[in-house]
């Protein structure tokens, strides 16, 4: 069941990201649904689930992005893995914790993207921080927390257990 959910996520999230998400963009910045999905699965399902889903989503996003082929694989895989690590050390996952965690992971992911691109000047870095990094972090965090709030009851009853899927 869980494997099916991940497969559907992999097939839906990336096409959704590239086609319809511009309707909800703020100043041209769209949330990164792949990152949000990998983090949520990592938080709730553990490191391996987060890592595997992150790798699949990252690979798909890399195919539909102009960047190098490794950037999304590393950022989404890493995000799922980090979220899994963080989730395991927390007594309770609350929307606030998720909000802050997602914002931090989104900023880290943006840092990897900036590293992968040609060197930025200070002015360009400041522009990127203002116009992309912070907006995307806020957007990712808000969407992740909203999804969590929406499905919180169901997820607290029916926990995702790693061993059953892999």
């Amino acid at each position: 069941m869980k494997f099916l959910l991940y497969a559907v996520l992999a097939l839906v999230v990336v096409p959704l990201q590239t086609t319809l998400l511009h309707y909800v963009s703020i100043f041209g910045v769209r949330p990164d649904l792949g990152l949000v999905a990998a983090c949520l699965v990592g938080f709730l399902g553990g490191e391996l689930d987060g890592l595997v889903l992150g790798l699949i989503l990252g690979c798909s996003q890399d195919l539909l992005s102009a960047g190098d082929l490794w950037v999304n694989v590393v950022t989404k895989g890493g995000a799922g893995f980090l979220a899994g690590l963080a989730g395991r050390h927390m007594a309770h996952i609350t929307p606030t914790v998720l909000l802050v965690g997602l914002a931090v992971i989104s900023c880290l992911s943006s840092a990897v993207f900036m590293y992968s691109m040609p060197p930025f000047t200070w002015e360009e870095m400041w522009t990127a921080l203002r116009s992309t990094v912070l907006i995307q972090a806020g957007f990712d965090a808000a969407i992740g927390a909203a999804i969590y709030l929406l499905f919180r009851r169901r997820w607290s009853d029916d926990r995702m257990v790693t061993e059953s899927a892999f």
Partner: protein, 293 residues
């Protein structure tokens, strides 16, 4: 109460997997990119199916919006377009005269080859999957003859170049992306330079000679020297010239000719010239001309 979601074994497996991935990517970058490219083939094909479905929904939404909700601005647009039509009719008459003259010169100079680019029409079905690149996704890929480094245009001018091609789709890096570089030429002064994107979503022409008399309003076209685009395709209009103290070159901002935010169909240039021989002739002709005093 802490809830352990995974056992020690799976956690260890995750750590090992991630460490292996990072090691492979940083120690063997080209080989690991090759593996990812290989894996991407079937994955790209599978993804193209939901991508097409979502693209159709997107198109439906856009048409609904433009057909009903956005009608309020149509009246003003109509008035503006009529004014533009009158202006363009007058301009068209002048251009017809110029075209007739140009055709005669083309025949004389044997430059006809440059307009015979082979193209493939493609539909824009999405935007770049991240916020870090200004890119478009096209519904044509390797099966249709689209390959990386091919130029992408519309009848109005240059759009960008293909950077990735999967079996059923391809990714285009737009002219306004900071990672793009296209050889350009100022039409009036014949000064060459490199057109690059800026972080503000516009483009600029770099490496214009200091003594050049370029000015705002000058048109920039492709120089045809890199082989991706044939010569003479419109890139944009210079809006602002920057001449820094002590700099070796001038830089100019460009307003792109094509509205890159509203693209539905584009042409991918599969061969910029009719054949390689013609391209060679043209390049030799160009170099020969430049040597003349």
């Amino acid at each position: 109460m802490a809830i352990l979601r995974s056992t020690y074994g799976t956690r260890r497996l995750a750590v090992v997997l991630f460490a292996l991935l990072l090691a492979a990517l940083f120690l063997l970058p080209s080989q690991s990119q090759g593996v990812l490219q290989y894996l991407g083939g079937p994955l790209g094909y599978i993804l193209s199916l939901p991508l097409a479905a979502f693209s159709a929904i997107d198109q439906g939404l856009s048409e609904t919006w433009e057909g009903y909700v956005a009608l309020q601005v149509v009246r003003e647009d109509n008035r503006q377009l009529r004014r533009e039509l009158d202006f363009l009719k007058a301009q068209n008459n002048q251009l017809r005269e110029s075209v007739a003259a140009t055709q005669r010169y083309e025949a004389l100079l044997n430059f006809k080859e440059q307009s015979k680019a082979q193209t493939v029409a493609a539909q824009v079905i999405g935007r770049d999957a991240t916020n870090w690149y200004r890119g478009l996704i096209l519904n044509k890929g390797e099966h249709d003859g689209v390959r990386p480094e091919m130029g992408v245009v519309t009848p109005a001018g240059v759009v960008g170049r293909v950077v990735k091609a999967n079996s059923a789709s391809s990714v285009v890096l737009l002219l306004t992306d900071t990672n793009n570089a296209i050889a350009g030429l100022v039409q009036r002064t014949r000064d060459e330079g490199i057109v690059e994107g800026t972080s503000h979503g516009r483009a600029r022409l770099k490496y214009i000679p200091l003594l050049s008399h370029v000015q705002a309003g000058d048109r920039v076209v492709t120089s045809g020297l890199t082989g991706v685009f044939p010569r003479g395709l419109a890139i944009g209009v210079l809006t602002q010239i920057e001449k820094e103290e002590g700099a070796l070159f001038q830089t100019a901002e460009i307003e792109p000719e094509v509205d890159l935010t509203r693209l539905d169909e584009v042409l991918v240039i599969t061969a910029p010239y009719e054949d390689a021989e013609a391209a060679q002739k043209l390049l030799q002709g160009t170099h020969g001309d430049r040597k003349k005093p």
